[in-house]
């Protein structure tokens, strides 16, 4: 033990421990996660146009027609001139809230409450008139870290029949118009006092903003709950991320169908990883080979 000088080592340790702390203390701490706003999620890519208005819709969507399971959510429509962008706000919000609750070790009931409030299953983002005269559908049905599909196609404007019926939505008198569009019969209520050419999803082409829309089967219902001018610095972003894969509608629908009919097979094909799932069950390793399907009730029926 003679050559082991404890006090020397302790002193050296103390110096070593304090030096880096002194050096690092000059850096200002930057908050890197947990407090960025929804923009972080949607403001991916490059800005394309200045945002003028924002419309928030409450959305209801029948996930599973047989079981009549409904997902409720909130769609945000961003309007900048004749370009619009529409996406499910809840995909973002739900993630963040559960994260915050988790961090606070919140009681389970609170989660449940929050989930009820923020359930929503729509995974697409639709750009209308971006690029010019095109409609772009961005979808993350398999998760944003896996695959973001991007499908650009020429913009189609529904051929509307305007009726005499009116309804008040959000304090605005709205006129009912009907159309047959992308495989569904749609009803839309638009406000003449808001003379912009915009609406949820791909619905537009009326003399006023569409504040309410639903299809005849009531599988998809959107009702505006908020409308406001954008802040001067707000922009609409193109949402192109490194995970974006461009494809045509045929491929996009093929992928969606494959994903919903055989998710495991889809994941195996996408990741090139596990070709099969093996579960370590009580009876030793068991191969889970059964496929499982997710309900498929797309808004667009070709």
């Amino acid at each position: 033990m003679k050559n082991f000088n404890l006090s020397f080592i302790l002193a050296a340790f103390a110096i070593l421990a304090l030096l880096p702390l002194q050096a690092f203390a000059q850096f200002r701490l930057s908050v890197s996660s947990g407090s960025r706003d929804a923009a972080v999620y949607q403001n991916v890519g490059e800005p394309i146009v200045k945002m003028e208005y924002k419309v928030l819709y409450e959305s209801k969507y029948v996930i599973d027609v047989e079981k009549n399971t409904i997902a409720e959510g909130q769609l945000l429509l961003e309007i900048g001139g004749s370009t619009t962008k529409c996406y499910n706000l809840n995909m973002v919000k739900r993630d963040s809230i559960s994260r915050v609750l988790m961090a606070q070790n919140a009681p389970a009931k609170e989660y449940e409450q929050q989930y009820r409030n923020y359930r929503g299953g729509l995974t697409w983002t639709v750009f209308s008139n971006f690029p010019a005269n095109q409609t772009t559908t961005v979808d993350e049905f398999a998760g944003s870290s896996m695959l973001v599909t991007r499908c650009e196609e020429s913009m189609e404007i529904p051929e509307w029949k305007i009726t005499a019926e009116t309804q008040e939505v959000l304090g605005y008198t709205c006129t009912l118009a009907t159309t047959s569009f992308k495989g569904r019969e749609w009803k839309a209520w638009f406000a003449l006092d808001l003379p912009m050419d915009a609406g949820p999803w791909k619905l537009r082409g009326l003399p006023g903003l569409i504040l309410k829309a639903e299809d005849a089967e009531q599988h998809y219902c959107f009702t505006a709950t908020g409308f406001e001018k954008a802040k001067p610095d707000e922009q609409i972003y193109d949402r192109i991320s490194p995970k974006t894969e461009k494809m045509d509608r045929k491929k996009y629908e093929g992928l969606m169908e494959f994903y919903t009919s055989d998710m495991m097979g889809f994941m195996a094909s996408v990741t090139g990883q596990e070709a099969a799932v093996v579960v370590s069950g009580n009876n030793g390793p068991e191969v889970v080979t059964r496929k499982f399907t997710t309900p498929y009730n797309p808004i667009e029926r070709k």
Binding site: Y111, G265, A275
Partner: protein, 850 residues
């Protein structure tokens, strides 16, 4: 009729010709044209909207009027945001020959009636992926592990039960936000009923310490399970019993009670098994996140009880009698405080029969040994843990106290040799973690202290010697105390930890030889990472000073490490890393006294601390076309290792003697790994091929002679998965492995090919599910001599009701008795066989409540 209609149409067309109403809309004040203004026409005195249009870029518009519209008085309205509405009545008379309209809009101060959007913008980061399990679970799923394995991006390891997300192991598994299992989460995943869980959340960039949230970078992944309302805070019970036959009666049973509430959680379970299942695996720690960079230290063992192992997996081999009792209780005292208690006991008896023939090659000579043995390993183990945590937004403190007591008895019966080894172990350890958070810096302190007492008692009889008894005893006190800190500045992240660790070790053999190799270590490890867009880099230097008084050893090492990851787009990825490390080997490689390790192996090292210098580098590139289901990757890795001394082996009169030799030895090698995978969405088919080639060069000392060797291995692993219909899935897995060893200066051992192929079929109809799998092994046991083996298993599952499920299995249908294979390792050839469990039938019934 049709022709007449067409004719009539032509006839009337000129009469019905539409009038066009044209105009231009401008700003009143400036006269500038207004694009995108809405122009509508309605019947005067009525709100009924007849037609509409929008103005073009120059403010112009055109409206087509039908003949009906031409015959009524109309109201024209023009609207544009930020301007007053304009209306004009157009009498029917004026519509016969309309003039172009010039419309001027006044600007308006009236603000739009906005309805504030509540709740947006949201303060978020999308780090949570939530899976609604109702979309993934089926009635066939019994436990939650089966459902989790089906979640996209989630993998559940087949043997260990370890869960990972996108290839990264989860650091915590929680239920309703609380971690009751303390890392032994198979207790949750193997016992919690699948249908009690509503959602699974994957939390990326998970930071469990609230005071650090938003302040530091983390790439940990955690999982949280959320229960259905009716399963929360209620006791759930499950019972299962199985009986079967495999030479004698086999059985298996379990009973468990679980409760997951917001204030308290409980996990109680009892399991008993005599059917070959791996029950003990449930107690293994699959995650332990809170250790940070603390060094681990195990007790100083010289004579380990060799674990039972088999080349074909223990499930087909072991004959067991296992009893397990485990209790976990978590109490949440307040929002920021919780404590957890865990106690478990296991009695695990395992036996197997195997044979090993080894040939050691040196020069043109060989040493050959043969062992055929019945082995039995009995373990009794008690563990207790107390874990208390205080976690708030301003401070964090956690203390984990753990006590383990284990008693292992291993016996080996060979033809004329008997060996018995009793190892006992008492371990007491405490881990403390406190975070000192200041407004502008983060600093943490971690401390670990570990005491162990580990006596061992070896006894053997062999015909050519007197019976031998050897007792060994060790006490060890180890501690590691470390400060850490980390900071982020823009794209840079700096991390640093420094500490002092050391152990006091006291050992004694029954021949009176004592040895006390205390060791101290002082270390500091700074690292800097730079993450910008698709590029991630990390550079780390590790500075270590070691001091071992008894060996007069002290040394300073500085080791660099570089890591780089670049993923420019969805298609390409490039990863590169290189590092150097120095490490000191453990007690058994410098223990200076002669001792028996088993009935035929003796060790005598010298008091020189063996230093290992390890350098390695790896480069990997991957290309994928997600939408075409195509994936390929190629990796190259290389390593170089140097020991400052070597272990020489000498064999004489049935005893291997391993001795330290003051000579540097080195080994080096490289490996190339490739993967290609193609999925077809159309055919519901996925095919993957993995290839690995490795070549290692090294040197060893046998019978006072240096022997250089080069070993090479080539492996192909094809897999295929095909689901032609919803109720049917076929799978194929193959492993084709060729190996060869060249002994420099003498011979090349023959190339051996071992292959294993598995075909399995799963058929699911209504409440029934059948799983059939057949394995075929073709192993080259010697040059051009093959051993062929077919193994088959079948399982029928029947969901009798929501609460009752029955499974009938037949394993080893063809009743094969032995598995045989030959493999090369450095300069030895090992031919081994194991006795398999015979054909067995098992009927299992599961009940669950509520």
């Amino acid at each position: 009729m049709r022709y007449i209609a067409v004719l009539l149409l032509f006839f009337f067309l000129p009469v019905q010709a539409q009038q066009v109403l044209k105009g231009v809309v401008r700003e009143k004040e400036s006269g500038q044209s207004i694009p995108s203004a809405t122009v509508t026409l309605s019947k005067a005195g009525d709100q009924q909207l007849l037609t509409f249009t929008r103005t073009g870029d120059t403010g112009q518009f055109e409206l087509q009027l039908t003949s009906a519209q031409q015959n009524m008085d109309l109201l024209l309205t023009v609207r544009s945001l930020g301007r007053k509405m304009y209306t004009q009545t157009l009498p029917a008379a004026a519509l016969k020959n309309p003039r172009d309209l010039q419309i001027a809009l006044e600007s308006s101060d009236i603000a739009l009636r906005e309805v504030t959007i509540k709740g947006a913008p949201v303060r978020v980061k999308s780090d949570t992926i939530t899976y609604d399990l109702s979309e993934f679970a089926s009635e066939k799923d019994q436990h939650i592990s089966e459902v989790l394995a089906k979640l996209p991006g989630v993998q559940v390891d087949k043997t260990t039960g370890k869960i990972s997300y996108q290839g990264k192991s989860i650091s915590k598994l929680m239920v309703e936000g609380l971690d009751v299992s303390g890392g032994q989460y198979r207790q949750v995943t193997d016992n919690l009923k699948a249908d009690a869980v509503a959602k699974a959340e994957v939390l990326e960039n998970y930071q469990p310490i609230q005071a650090l949230q938003g302040k530091t970078f983390t790439d940990e992944v955690a999982m949280n399970l959320k229960l259905k309302d009716d399963s929360k805070d209620t006791w759930m019970f499950a019972l299962s019993a199985a009986a079967g036959y495999e030479q004698d009666l086999t059985y298996s049973g379990k009973a468990n009670a679980l409760r997951f509430g917001k204030g308290a959680q409980d996990l109680w379970s009892y399991k008993t098994d005599h059917s070959g299942k791996d029950v003990a695996g449930e107690l293994s720690y699959l995650s332990n996140m809170d250790r940070g960079h603390l060094h681990a230290m195990s007790y100083p063992e010289l004579v380990p009880n060799p674990a039972l192992s088999s080349p074909i997996g223990m499930g087909r081999v072991r004959d067991n009698r296992t009893n397990l009792l485990s209790v976990n209780h978590l109490n949440r005292v307040s929002d920021s405080r919780q404590s957890r208690v865990m106690v478990n006991y296991i009695h695990d008896e395992n036996s197997m029969t195997n044979g090993v023939d080894e040939t050691y090659h040196y020069g043109n000579k060989t040493i050959q040994t043969q062992e055929r043995q019945d082995r039995l390993l009995v373990q009794d183990k008690v563990s207790a843990e107390w874990d208390s945590e205080q976690n708030s937004t301003t401070s964090y403190q956690r203390n984990q106290l753990k006590l383990d007591g284990a008693w292992d008895r291993g016996t080996q019966q060979l033809d004329d040799v008997f060996q018995r080894l009793k190892n006992k172990r008492l371990e007491l350890q405490n881990t403390f973690h406190r975070l000192i958070g200041k407004p502008k810096s983060i600093m943490g302190f971690r401390s670990y202290i570990h005491y162990s007492y580990s006596p061992s008692d070896l006894y053997f009889q062999r015909p050519d010697r007197e019976d031998q008894t050897q007792q060994y005893e060790a006490h060890q006190l180890f501690t590691d105390n470390q400060f850490y800190s980390n900071f982020q500045k823009g794209a840079f992240r700096m991390e640093w930890y420094s500490g002092l660790s050391g152990n006091l070790t006291f050992t004694e053999l029954n021949d009176g030889n004592r040895y006390h190799p205390h060791r101290f270590q002082l270390y500091t490890v700074p690292s800097v990472s730079y993450n910008y867009r698709s590029l991630e880099t990390q550079l780390q230097a590790s500075v270590n000073y070691y001091h071992q008084p008894v060996s007069h050893f002290h040394k300073l090492y500085i080791d660099p490490m570089l890591r780089l990851k670049w993923e420019p787009n969805t298609r390409w990825a490039l990863r590169l890393n290189g590092s150097q490390s120095h490490s000191l080997s453990g007690l058994s490689s410098y223990y200076p006294h002669l001792y028996w390790r088993n009935y035929r192996t003796q060790y005598r090292m010298n008091d020189v601390v063996p230093e290992l210098t390890h350098r390695s580098a790896r480069v990997e590139t991957a290309y994928r076309r997600v939408i075409h289901g195509f994936y390929t990757s190629l990796a190259f890795s290389t390593f170089d290792m140097r020991y400052n001394q070597t272990t020489a082996m000498n064999y004489d009169q049935g005893v291997f003697l391993y001795q330290a030799l003051n000579r540097t030895t080195k080994s080096s090698g490289y490996a190339v790994e490739g993967r290609i995978s193609q999925g077809s969405y159309k055919w519901k088919l996925n095919a993957t091929l993995d290839m690995t080639y490795s070549r290692n060069r090294g040197e060893t000392y046998i019978q006072d002679m240096k022997q250089n060797y080069v070993g090479s291995n080539l492996t192909f692993r094809p897999t295929l998965r095909w689901s032609p219909a919803a109720y049917l899935t076929w799978m194929y897995d193959g492993v084709f492995m060729g190996s060869q060893t060249e002994l420099e200066g003498s011979s090349t051992l023959p190339r051996l090919w071992n292959t294993q192929q598995t075909v399995s079929l799963n058929l699911g109809l209504a409440d029934f599910n059948v799983n059939l799998s057949v394995d075929y092994f073709r192993n080259e046991v010697a040059d051009h001599q093959f051993s062929n083996l077919w193994l088959g298993d079948i399982d029928w599952n029947w969901n009798v009701s929501k609460k009752v499920r029955m499974t009938f299995s037949i394993h080893n249908i063809f009743n094969k008795q032995t598995y045989q294979e030959t493999f090369y390792s450095t300069v030895s050839t090992t031919q081994q066989w194991v006795r398999l469990r015979s054909r067995e039938y098992l009927l299992q019934v599961n009940f669950s409540l509520p």
